[in-house]
């Protein structure tokens, strides 16, 4: 069972990386000035010695760091990510509550960016020296160079405030009480702006990469073979060039899919999308250690899962990989 052993190997490595990340993040986070007790004391508008001691004891902050780490790791190994005293909820519940929104947003953005990016890149590669090709590349460069939050702000302004076509923020219409299909449609409508905004940058990346990759593949011998067969250019582009050109894009896309999950902080903030990126930022600001560590853990887990998925897809796409060991 080479597949099974391969998967076991990857899982083993992944577990080690995850544990290392937990330890690293643990010390990183505890290196920050201030602690959750201080934040809560600050917010309460008053504080005294007893209050701080109570809080620190509840957070377990009265223990030495190694003890805290030991306890935390022990918890994680039994899938207990601790309790967010600040949010008064178990960390796992909090994360699982917010994760679907992020997955939906990044998934949509990923799909949009990948499909449109590859399409645009293909067109640009086929029209390499023509104005339409240059226009596509110019646009993609523009999207690539524009700060994401700026696009987001402008998108809200144009499409929500001025044109009033799309909702400006949020996940669903509050109080509309939609169910079933109507709810799905409502969510989809809310999804458009943030997903497109988040996807634009990556779309530009994929456009450029697809074009470069296609141009370099089109120099290869087998393309000449295909032409010598008398194949139509469209078939050559699609079947021979694009298929080979997509291989490096799979790798890149896999890397970025994972990164997107934790990287959507800005989009989630501007569009009030109830995702995990925002939760992370808030947890960081409030020094909600358990929550922050939990989010980091899940982000890393997702990155690793996406990497594995990428491997599988790559294996399906490229028959050569099965032979030579990864």
């Amino acid at each position: 069972m080479p597949y099974l052993s391969l998967i076991l190997g990857r899982v083993g490595k992944a577990v080690i990386v995850l544990l290392a990340i937990l330890v690293f993040n643990f010390f990183l986070i505890h290196a920050a000035p201030g602690d959750p007790a201080a934040v809560m004391a600050g917010e309460a508008g008053a504080t005294d010695e007893q209050f701080l001691e109570d809080l620190r004891e509840r957070f377990g902050l009265d223990q030495p760091l190694p003890v805290q780490l030991w306890r935390y790791m022990g918890g994680v190994l039994t899938l207990d990510f601790g309790y967010s005293y600040r949010q008064q909820m178990p960390v796992l519940d909090l994360i699982l509550e917010r994760l679907p929104a992020t997955l939906m947003l990044t998934g949509a953005a990923f799909f949009i960016s990948l499909s449109l990016g590859i399409l645009a890149g293909t067109l640009a590669a086929m029209r390499v020296k023509r104005p339409s090709g240059s226009l596509i590349m110019g646009l993609s460069l523009l999207f690539y160079a524009t700060p994401l939050y700026w696009v987001a702000m402008m998108a809200v302004l144009v499409f929500s405030v001025v044109l009033d076509w799309l909702p400006a923020y949020g996940y669903a219409t509050v109080g509309a009480g939609y169910t079933g299909l109507a709810h799905a449609g409502d969510v989809a409508l809310h999804l458009i702006l943030p997903a497109v905004t988040l996807g634009l940058f990556f779309m530009a990346v994929y456009t450029r990469m697809t074009r470069t990759s296609m141009l370099s593949v089109s120099q290869q011998d087998f393309v000449k073979t295909a032409r010598a067969k008398g194949l139509a250019p469209g078939v050559i582009q699609r079947r021979h060039i694009l298929r080979n050109a997509l291989l490096p894009i799979i790798t890149l896309a896999g890397l970025q899919a994972g990164q997107m999950v934790g990287g959507a902080v800005l989009t989630e903030t501007v569009f009030a999308w109830p995702g995990i990126g925002r939760l992370m930022y808030e947890a960081l600001m409030q020094r909600d250690y358990n929550l922050l560590l939990g989010i980091f853990f899940f982000c890393a887990l997702l990155v690793i899962l996406f990497n594995m998925l990428t491997d599988v897809i790559y294996r399906l796409a490229d028959p050569r990989i099965k032979q030579s060991a990864a």
Partner: protein
């Protein structure tokens, strides 16, 4: 000379270079054009561009000269982009070189280390690092460098992996050159062109990243950067569009220019890729 000729053949790259030169010029001239602090409140707030003579780009929410901010911000943005890239290179290049050259266990260990940094989402890590070190130019540069070195390491490693089996490297081993000499004199110079191309893009990304951090309020409070200007203007976007548009366009142009230059470098440094064989 060949190199410059090839570079100049790419019209986009030339335009990019010109824009970049203008930005650099602006940054260099900032202390002379606007000797006063760009933080100085010098006129009524919210002057539109051209509304009052002497303030071609208007004033911001607090009556500070936008043009002065733009000039001084050019300096900061470029500097942050450059230095963070240099720092990232100085982490990524040696790691990638060692991993690629020695291979085996060293490669394994170093690549695990690199993967480790790639497993934590970039932007999230940058935010956490800046928050922990507290926002300052140094912490921002460090954070950007720390999140952007892994691709460098991977690129350099890949180049080393392919070049270390070139015959001239083997010849150098046979004549008894030390590992250090082989790495520095034989292989490194031949990995430079893709690294330079990547670096030009990294400067661009760093400028964007700095502005994103600024947008979240994690900028250096003592330095006027473009990112700061956009971040500060976002709440008044509706009253004073120019406050976010002007620095936004500045960032866009600079990043665009860096990308164009990067592409031009890519073409000029890898002529076989740019042209049909």
């Amino acid at each position: 000379m060949n190199f410059f000729k090839r570079f100049a053949q790419n019209r986009g790259a030339l335009i990019g270079l010109i824009i970049l030169a203008l930005v650099v010029l602006l940054a260099l001239l900032a202390p002379f054009l606007y000797p006063d602090s760009p933080w100085r409140m010098v006129q009524r707030p919210f002057l539109a561009p051209g509304e009052v003579a002497g303030f071609p780009l208007g004033t911001d929410t607090m009556g500070r000269d936008v043009a002065a901010g733009l000039a001084h911000g050019a300096w900061v943005s470029l500097l942050i982009g450059l230095i963070s890239t240099v720092v990232a290179l100085s982490i990524g290049v040696p790691l990638g070189a060692l991993a690629g050259y020695f291979g085996g266990k060293i490669d394994d260990a170093l690549m695990r280390f690199t993967e480790f940094f790639q497993t934590i989402p970039n932007f999230a890590l940058a935010i956490v690092l800046v928050a922990i070190m507290e926002p300052s130019t140094v912490s921002i540069v460090l954070a950007i460098a720390i999140v952007s070195w892994p691709p460098v390491a991977r690129l350099v490693r890949g180049e080393f992996l392919s070049i270390k089996h070139r015959e001239y490297v083997e010849a150098a081993r046979l004549v008894g050159q030390t590992h250090r000499d082989i790495i520095i004199k034989q292989i490194l110079p031949n990995t430079l062109s893709p690294v330079i191309v990547l670096a030009s893009l990294m400067v661009a990304t760093a400028i964007l990243l700095e502005s994103s951090l600024s947008f979240l309020g994690l900028g250096d409070p003592d330095t006027m950067s473009w990112g700061y200007m956009i971040g500060a203007a976002r709440t008044v976007m509706r009253q004073a569009w120019w406050l976010s548009v002007i620095p936004g366009v500045a960032i866009l142009l600079t990043v665009l220019a860096l990308n164009l230059v990067g592409e031009g470098l890519d073409d000029a440094l890898n002529p076989q890729l740019a042209r049909a064989r």
